[in-house]
């Protein structure tokens, strides 16, 4: 009886030792992984900072102004002027005729209109 108890105890100690050893390695792996991820995050943040700086540098007003001037033929961009503000009553109401055909037979009328 006593021998069995001893054998069992010894086996338990060996088992626990193995388990602790195993867990220890698992923890170390997890920590190494976490460290790698953190380093990756750090690198990503550093890259993000560089990209943000580059974005700000490429979007600096002086450069955009020069680009707008160079590409004036294609874009026709000019500084924002007070005259460019519109009023609500300057927007025309939709014409009644264009709405009329939609009311009946939408499909046929529309495709025919498109071909024209």
């Amino acid at each position: 009886m006593r021998t069995i108890l001893y054998v069992l105890l010894a086996a338990t100690v060996v088992g626990l030792g193995f388990w602790a050893y195993h867990e220890n390695y698992k923890t170390q792996n997890a920590m190494a992984e976490a460290e790698a991820i953190q380093r990756e995050i750090g690198d990503a943040r550093a890259r993000l900072a560089v990209l943000r700086a580059e974005w700000a540098y490429l979007n600096r007003p002086d450069r955009l102004r020069d680009l707008a001037e160079i590409n004036f033929d294609a874009l026709g961009l000019l500084p924002f002027q007070p005259e460019q503000f519109g009023r609500v009553d300057e927007i025309p109401y939709p014409q009644l005729q264009t709405i009329q055909p939609l009311a009946d037979g939408v499909e046929g009328e529309a495709t025919e209109g498109d071909r024209l």
Partner: protein, 594 residues
């Protein structure tokens, strides 16, 4: 355990036979037994104490060894942390009111050399001089072959330069990590941002410290690791700042001015939306402070905040507003404006004679020095000083850049009546354009004090009341008439109801004693839209000459005003202000029923 009997029969009988007392034997045995017991108890206690002592020794030894290890090993960062991962940059970013980047950090490297480990110093020097054209081969070679064991070659390198230095393949050339401050917008808002440089330098890291502007003012805040992730938000708007600098620069060229300054400020919150001083500089490569000549000629001098000038007639509105507030005059009161006005040995003149009398409103509209001086006489020196002090004109502005402390107004030492009269039209007192902006903002917002700030504010300032709502409205009306029918007629921008006052002040001679004849400071202080003022704009030109007409014109009405008008035309739409135009007649609506 075998117990020895206390009274062994044999010995008792023997003793009795000898006629001795047998009790003595019993006592003797008892003594021996007790001694034995005592000895065993003692040895047990000793062994227990020994074990206990061992335990204590082990515990203290563990603690001691651990302490020794902690003290003698380099610190290690905790490998896992549950909190958010922060790759802490050294210095917080600076952004504008819309969150656009004004200053950020960039990782780079510094190059240093250890000559004793160099393989071929001559070749290294040659190659380095090829990569960095501003370095001389001879100097480098002298450094590399001298006694020095360590020397810095270059403080910051671009990635291309790092690669080129790597390609030399010299083991004595080494890199140290650096984080440098980068201003992606170049010279834009340079006077506000200031600049940064390296402080204490180690091989693998260097401190970045602010050297001027907000960088220096908020150095502790920007370097605080707890706030490193949170950018410092300014009240500046990048787009508007850029537009202002562009318009000012072209205005400065057109008007042949030496320098220019502009301030755009929100009249309710005191936020400075744009602040420019030309000529400017690139904060990425901040020029050193000038060693000779006037500091105010250097591009690093902030004319809008540091520069104190006699701002001339722009001050007249303060005199008139105070007189109205005190009930001394109203806009229709008639003032004697016969020019020149003799006061002791001094003569006060107007630009030209405006006739014997003018109403108070016309005094402002025509900008009569004599009229303002007469009003100031009624106010008196003490009340005038008190009013200027309440406007903050007597001390440096509390703007959040270190240079602001340098913008201390120049005040007359004594304040006799003649000083009261000259100060009333802006002579004899020198303030910065920013002081003027704060004063005009007070009139614009209905009479409460405004303190200019560079930090984004969430709500209006409710400062101390200086003049009543009615007085402020009357003053604004006068300023509006200056633009519609007075000296600032070029300031009219259709749809934005500009109101303002011109100021042309002769520049005092640097050598002291008198004023230059043909050098002026032209200022236009304005607010818009006058029916509900939101912004104050100050434009100051130094030594402008408008040569577009037949004669050279120097007055603000011909120089600063057209520049300011162009600025408002450019900036007001960007601020989201819709031009106020008479609404066109709405389409007829007929009441119908069916």
């Amino acid at each position: 355990m075998i117990r020895t009997p206390l009274r062994p029969l044999a010995r008792i009988l023997e003793a009795r036979a000898r006629g001795e007392n047998p009790d003595a034997i019993e006592r003797e045995n008892l003594r021996l037994r007790h001694e034995g017991l005592r000895d065993s108890d003692r040895s047990r206690a000793e062994s227990r104490l020994f074990v206990l002592g061992l335990c204590f020794f082990a515990a203290f030894a563990t603690i001691g060894v651990r302490m020794g290890v902690l003290a003698s090993t380099p610190p290690v960062e905790p490998r896992t942390s549950s909190a958010g991962v922060e790759i802490a940059t050294q210095r917080a970013e600076i952004v504008d009111r819309q969150g656009r980047l004004l200053a950020t950090n960039l990782e780079t490297s510094a190059l240093y050399a250890q000559p004793q480990t160099m393989v071929d110093p001559a070749r290294a020097a040659q190659e380095l001089a090829r990569i960095f054209p501003d370095m001389k081969v001879e100097d480098l070679l002298e450094d590399f072959t001298g006694k020095r064991k360590f020397l810095w070659v270059r403080k910051v390198l671009s990635p291309e330069q790092i690669q080129a230095v790597h390609d030399i393949g010299e083991p004595g050339l080494l890199f140290g990590n650096r984080e440098m401050r980068l201003y992606p917008n170049g010279a834009l808002a340079s006077h506000i941002l200031g600049g940064a440089s390296f402080g204490r330098e180690g091989v693998n890291a260097a401190e970045v410290i602010g050297t001027a502007g907000v960088e220096k003012m908020f150095d502790d805040r920007l370097r605080d690791p707890a706030k490193a992730a949170e950018p410092l938000q300014l009240s500046i708007d990048l787009t508007i700042q850029s537009a202002m600098e562009q318009v000012l620069a072209s205005g400065m060229g057109l008007m042949n001015a030496k320098s220019a300054a502009g301030i755009l400020m929100d009249v309710h919150t005191g936020e400075v939306i744009a602040l420019a001083s030309l000529p400017d500089f690139d904060p990425n490569d901040r020029p050193p402070p000038p060693t000779k000549g006037s500091p105010s000629d250097s591009p690093i001098f902030n004319r809008a905040v540091q520069g104190v000038y006699e701002l001339g007639s722009t001050f007249k509105i303060f005199t008139v507003a105070q007189a109205m507030e005190l009930g001394l005059v109203n806009p229709e009161t008639i003032i004697n404006t016969a020019s020149p006005m003799q006061w002791g040995k001094h003569k006060i003149r107007d630009f030209k004679n405006y006739g014997p009398t003018l109403s108070v409103e016309k005094v402002i509209v025509k900008s009569s020095n004599v009229g303002t001086a007469r009003i100031a006489q009624q106010i008196g020196a003490e009340r005038q000083q008190e009013f200027l002090r309440s406007l903050g004109m007597m001390e440096a502005t509390p703007l959040e850049i270190v240079e602001a402390k340098g913008g201390k107004p120049l005040l007359p030492k004594k304040w006799p009546e003649i000083t009261t009269m000259t100060v009333s039209y802006g002579h004899g007192i020198s303030t910065s354009p920013l002081h003027l902006a704060a004063g005009y903002a007070m009139i614009a917002n209905g009479g409460t004090k405004v303190t200019p700030t560079l930090l984004r504010q969430g709500m209006p300032q409710y400062g101390e009341r200086i003049i009543s709502e009615q007085t402020a409205a009357a003053a604004r009306q006068m300023l509006r008439h200056v633009v519609t029918e007075g000296t600032a007629s070029f300031g009219e921008v259709s749809g934005y109801e500009v109101a303002g006052k011109t100021g042309t002040a002769d520049k005092p001679k640097e050598t002291g004693g008198g004023y230059h004849k043909d050098k002026v400071i032209a200022t236009f202080a304005s607010m818009f839209p006058v029916s509900d003022p939101k912004y104050v704009l100050i434009v100051t030109l130094d030594e402008p000459v408008n040569t577009m007409g037949t004669e050279a014109r120097r007055t603000a009405g011909w120089t600063a005003v057209p520049v300011a008008a162009e600025l408002i035309r450019r900036v007001a739409p960007l601020l989201g202000l819709k031009p106020q135009i008479e609404p066109s007649r709405l389409a007829d609506i007929k009441l119908t029923s069916n």
